[in-house]
């Protein structure tokens, strides 16, 4: 059922659209930052870095709209949960944007040197992480707690890939000190991806709160990251 106040209804719709626009932007940034690494395309990486201010501006817009809705509409029940969820996930999305910028910066640095090794686990990790972000956003749009729960389950796999990658890169560093700077940068990228997965997990947890009114964070039901490096 729609709100009696059409204007209120419209503002809630606007909020949802702004979150989706931000979500779409950071999804694209994840894809582009990875592509810039794998295809050694530094211009693409620089484009990712350049889009950061746009993400920041979108975060501020969402925050502003949420505060104004809270102040002027006194939202309750599912509307209140929607707005508080929006306020929290916008921070996660903005942080994901920052992390893709970090990936792009490391890509620019790595592209200046010869490849250390063919990238195998990094793209695997990246596609898994991008899938998590996408699904968390889908769960938000469709208010689907089941989809959100699937995201929570995937975080452990990403953590394991991160640990595995770290061990492998460690062997390169031990073998040859010349490898250290490149191996470290790849380690960083894996770590950034692992952090993005954590943010996707946060978003999924908030979606469950949005749908069911239950806060599962910091409880066994909200289990996310483990085995960090």
């Amino acid at each position: 059922m729609e709100h009696t106040s059409r204007q209120y209804e419209k503002e809630l719709q606007q909020l949802k659209e702004k979150i989706l626009l931000l979500g779409g932007t950071v999804e694209l940034m994840i894809a582009s930052s990875m592509k810039s690494l794998l295809t050694r395309d530094s211009d693409m990486a620089k484009n990712v870095i350049a889009s950061d201010p746009r993400v920041d501006a979108m975060e501020l817009e969402v925050d502003h709209l949420c505060v104004s809705l809270l102040a002027l509409r006194q939202p309750a029940a599912s509307d209140l949960r929607f707005i508080t969820t929006a306020l929290k996930i916008v921070t996660d999305l903005e942080r994901i944007g920052d992390l893709t910028v970090n990936i792009a910066e490391r890509a620019v640095e790595l592209n200046e040197e010869p490849p250390l090794k063919p990238y195998i686990d990094v793209p695997r990790m990246a596609s898994q992480v991008a899938g998590m972000v996408h699904q968390a956003l889908d769960a938000f749009v469709n208010r689907h707690p089941g989809m959100a729960r699937e995201v929570l389950g995937e975080d452990d796999a990403v953590d394991r890939l991160n640990v595995q990658l770290f061990r492998e890169l460690l062997t390169y560093m031990i073998e040859e000190p010349k490898n250290v700077s490149r191996a470290l940068r790849i380690t960083f990228i894996a770590k950034y991806l692992e952090r993005i997965a954590d943010h996707a997990t946060n978003i999924a947890q908030m979606v469950i709160f949005l749908c069911e009114g239950q806060d599962i964070r910091h409880s066994p039901a909200g289990r996310g990251s483990e085995g960090k490096v």
Binding site: H3, T4, P75, A77
Partner: protein, 271 residues
């Protein structure tokens, strides 16, 4: 700025999670009929002691009838029929032989519009104790001061106790009416939209008083202002077309109600 309530939010939250307390008033399968119209149907509602219970719902849903059925003033001037029971301290107030004067003393009421008697401030408060309890003049002064202090009005009127109550502002008149209720030592205080005729500052004063009253009295408040229900009450009941749809902890009702109709009403998706 009105002074901040003395109870911390964290204490309130803890309190709300605590067991609800003994039932002070209990409606059991209660239906209320006016001639040719049923106002309430099969209401089951427990009002815990020393808690604030808010009743919300659209106009004409039976909120006022519900609270006025507790001290049996809904029947004044009406030919009514009540089925089921309204228990006050475990006794059905509709049982034959109920002492209505005593019932209405123990269950006091505050109305939408302040309704002081056209007498002095002192007489407004002294009236009840004198009539109900036959208090002597020497006792009355103490009772009047204590009641006015409890209603946070004493400091504003101490120098003009014998001037007309009608000269007070709306907010002061409402606090005077509260003092008048408190003077006869009630156990339950019913409030029927007590702030709807008041400005925001006077409203905040009354709300702060409700906060203080809850430690000693059981309060049932009907309000159209949902933010007010959210601010002052421990439990909230949602009424629709004479039926009780949902009653729960206030925090639960306003963040995650169980019934779709409650959700639609409090989020403004109604009708």
């Amino acid at each position: 700025m009105p002074p901040a309530p003395k109870t911390l939010v964290s204490e309130r939250v803890r309190d709300q999670e605590a067991p609800a307390g003994d039932p002070k008033v209990e409606l059991r399968g209660m239906s209320f009929h006016y001639p040719g119209r049923q106002a309430l149907q099969d209401i089951h509602l427990t009002v815990p002691e020393h808690r604030v219970t808010a009743i919300i719902g659209p106009s004409g849903c039976g909120k006022s009838t519900l609270i006025k059925s507790i001290n049996r003033i809904a029947e004044i001037g009406n030919d009514i029929r009540v089925d089921g029971e309204v228990l006050f301290d475990g006794k059905n107030v509709y049982a034959p032989g109920t002492d209505l004067v005593d019932l209405r003393r123990r269950v006091g009421m505050l109305f939408q519009k302040p309704n002081p008697f056209p007498k002095s401030i002192f007489e407004n408060v002294a009236f009840g104790p004198r009539i109900h309890q036959g208090r002597r003049r020497s006792e009355l002064e103490g009772i009047v001061e204590k009641s006015l202090r409890q209603a946070a009005l004493w400091d504003e009127v101490r120098d003009r106790l014998h001037t007309s109550a009608m000269a007070l502002s709306g907010g002061q008149q409402q606090r005077l009416c509260l003092a008048r209720v408190l003077a006869v030592d009630p156990e339950v205080i019913l409030m029927d939209e007590p702030c709807s005729a008041l400005d925001p500052i006077s409203t905040a004063r009354i709300e702060e008083l409700i906060e203080e009253l809850r430690s000693r009295y059981t309060v049932v408040i009907v309000t159209h202002n949902m933010q007010q229900a959210a601010r002052v009450s421990d439990r909230t009941a949602f009424l629709l077309n004479g039926a009780l749809i949902e009653v729960d902890r206030t925090e639960k009702i306003f963040t995650n109600p169980s019934d779709r109709r409650t959700e639609d009403y409090i989020t403004g998706r109604f009708g």
